[in-house]
Amino acid sequence: MLSKSAKTVVRTRFPVRALATPAESNTTSHAPQLKYQPLSKAQKAFLERVVRVDQAGELGANYIYAGQYFVLANRYPHLKPVLKHMWEQEIHHHDTFNQLQTAKRVRPSIMTPFWKVGAFGIGLSTASLSKEAAMACTVAVETVIGGHYNEQLRVLMNQFSIGAVDAETGEVIANPPVSPEIASLKETVKQFRDEELEHLDTALEHDAEKAVPYMLLTEAIKATCKVAIWTAERI
């Protein structure tokens, strides 16, 4: 109700604005259209790696949950909605990076077929071991992925202040805001990191630590994830 009336107010203001003199409308108009400097080689290479490795990682997550769901959904009905919720979020993550990969013209990881098979296998085998082992797997994966997203965020925060000029006048803008493209990528990474950490909590709430042998399982899977990340960033 409130938002509806607010909308009407905004709408009725437009005609008033149109009647303003050019000088007046200038003072009320918002920030100038910015034209940003190109990305450096290193920035491009970083973004390329981010899109490729995150796409591959989310593909992996998607397939791990598929494997877990395949084994556990019917055996433990109470886990079904829990797994489904996390799986659906992974599908959304994966779709988002698929779109970024095609829109930004990034080469997907050539290892894609292996990521699919490997991830489905990890999901399937840990879930076959026990439901706790499946949750321990989630703990391991999300720990690595959460940390990885954090590293990316740090670089996006620190290394992407890029110069800009006023698109009309060519005047250099002091301390321009980060471009919408980088801002949106940062938002995406931040949101996904938060959701991965939620998955981590969910897994802990569902007895991940009771898995036997917990340390061996999680450390082995963490190591596997790190190797996969290293590979997917490159090829």
Partner: protein, 265 residues
């Protein structure tokens, strides 16, 4: 003069062309990210474009009469009041003829994207077009623009497969295949991404070789050939996992293809 010479040489010849020895890996493994808010600078500076354009298109002393040789560039430099001695610097890693051929490929690709690819989706009949229809449309548009140098195309293709030029040629062919795939609507996210670019690069090269072997002005035959190739790709429901296609994106296959065709004719 020295400054101009070095900057021009660097700009025309050394731009993005890694060592020729990295030919096998460079085209596929270099960084690739196309930003929407941070567009790249133009590849050629305006004065470089002027000189190369003159060399490529001048009907009296350019490529149309002299072919892809050193002379058109020397003439262009003279016509623009630059020292002719600069041409000697084109005999290093990449040659003057290659500089002109690369200019032809890059500008025609940019033209295809600007004039055809970006408006392709605004055409009234576009809703009924498949990915393959759009690919065919773009291929024909791109090849039609070869007509200006049609009589000299074989010489240009021969430049591409000179050992010192392979890295630069493959890099450019890779960009072309990627543009053709992207603007025809490819959204593949997995191995098909590689296979499609491989098949499209192969089709492009086959069509261009076919065009090079025909007398200028026979474009209808080229069009028919493109349609044949594209529908073959479509009808075979292309086996995108085929290792052969993967070989073509690794692209050494393309070099061999061009070489074998050029020696045959």
């Amino acid at each position: 003069m020295l400054f101009l010479r070095t900057s021009l040489t660097r700009a025309l010849l050394l731009h993005r062309t890694a060592s020729p020895f990295s030919a096998t890996s460079a085209p596929v493994l270099r960084a690739f990210y196309q930003s929407s808010d941070h567009p790249d600078r133009a590849f050629y500076a305006p004065h470089e474009s002027q000189i190369l354009d003159y060399a490529l298109t001048n009907p009296v002393e350019g490529v149309p009469v002299l072919g892809f040789t050193e002379q058109p560039l020397i003439n262009a430099l003279r016509a623009h009041g630059k020292s002719q001695s600069m041409a000697t610097s084109f005999q290093t890693a990449n040659s003057a003829p290659m500089a002109i051929m690369l200019y032809h490929m890059k500008t025609q690709r940019a033209k295809m994207v600007a004039e055809h690819a970006k408006t392709l989706y605004e055409l009234p009949h576009v809703n009924g077009l498949s990915q393959y229809d759009r690919l065919q449309y773009l291929l024909i548009a791109r090849l039609r623009d070869n007509v200006a140098v049609a009589g000299q195309l074989q010489g240009g293709l021969a430049q591409l497969v000179q050992p010192a030029n392979i890295a630069a040629s493959l890099s450019e062919l890779y960009d072309l295949a990627d543009d053709l795939c992207h603007y025809s609507g490819d959204k593949s996210n997995d191995f098909a991404w590689y296979a499609k670019r491989g098949s499209v690069a192969k089709i492009y090269v086959l069509c261009e070789l076919h065009q090079a072997g025909l007398p200028a002005g026979e474009f209808a035959q080229v069009e028919a050939f493109v349609k044949e190739q594209v529908s073959e790709m479509e009808n075979m429901a292309y086996a995108y996992n085929s290792m052969e296609e993967w070989g073509y994106i690794n692209m050494i296959g393309l070099v061999n293809l061009i070489r074998s065709q050029l020696t045959r004719s």
